[in-house]
């Protein structure tokens, strides 16, 4: 079948691209490069599968690879607290929320149009390549060689949250936003009393 062939070709290409990314990382920066290649492949491969797959459940679970890969990139950048927060909140929280949403979406395997996905992919990735070529011809990026070793800064993050010269206003505002969003989400999503089955209006049905 045609779609089966496309599916196989997609996953074969994805595997080859992953190996290529790992090899490029190993040749350019050794063990750190392999780690970077692995997490980059997880990130990009997960989101590619999410865009590609027909079933919403598979897309949602492939997002887990994306979020884990991003957490790994945070680790490589020395942001350990952020990596753990990323796994806790995204993989544990937001993904569970999205899976709740998946449960209410009727399975519609004809929803994905291959031509639409492919043309959007070509268009956007072409745009990224074009902008990347433009930018990289004018900017010299910092390289990893000049950097000091990353230090863990969990205690400093905690102090900065409550420091009047730091982020205490943003911190309290974030607390208020979270409370308001929680209350609003419960209020919006709850079934109204009038929506529940009323024997007087249901009639014989």
């Amino acid at each position: 079948m045609d779609t089966d062939k496309a599916q196989r070709a997609f996953y074969a290409l994805l595997g080859v691209a992953t190996l290529g990314l790992l090899g490029w990382g190993a040749s350019s920066a050794g063990a750190g490069g392999v780690a970077f290649g692995l997490f980059a492949a997880l990130t990009i491969g997960g989101s590619l599968i999410c865009v590609w797959e027909r079933s919403v459940v598979r897309s949602a679970f492939s997002l887990m690879a994306t979020f884990t890969g991003v957490a790994g990139l945070f680790l490589l950048l020395g942001a350990d607290f952020l990596a753990v927060a990323q796994i806790l909140i995204y993989v544990g929280g937001i993904l569970a929320l999205i899976l709740f949403g998946v449960m209410l979406s009727p399975p519609d395997l004809a929803e994905r149009k291959l031509s639409r996905v492919l043309s959007a992919l070509v268009l956007l990735l072409g745009a990224v390549a074009w902008v990347g070529a433009k930018v990289s011809s004018t900017v010299t990026w910092a390289t990893a060689g000049e950097l000091p070793e990353p230090t863990t800064k969990v205690d400093e993050i905690g102090v900065a949250f409550l420091d009047p010269d730091g982020y205490v206003v943003a911190f309290e505002l974030a607390a208020m936003i979270l409370t308001a969003a929680l209350v609003a989400a419960v209020y919006i999503a709850r079934r109204k009393a009038s929506d529940l089955t009323d024997p007087r209006t249901e009639g014989g049905a």
Partner: protein
Amino acid sequence: MGLGAYIAVSAVLFALGVVCIISRRNMIYVLMGIEMILNAANINFVAFNRFNGDAMDGRMFAIFVIILAAAEAAVALGIVLNVYHLFESIKPSDVDLMRD
């Protein structure tokens, strides 16, 4: 790995998020695309923070982005639930009460 590699990963992730939003006809995919885009922005924040003296501003900003993403996901899911009750569909193009 240099800064350019992280920026490249983040740019591709951003583009895939946009593809996810514009090429699927399902609100759940729109939510997933938004999460990808926010993650791409976070990679940028942390990478620039790391390669720019390792002050903490970028990391703190990324933490606030994660907080807002969590709030956004909860409210957006409530909205999707409500849209499904109202329209019996979660295709974004079916929500057209204000069209005429």
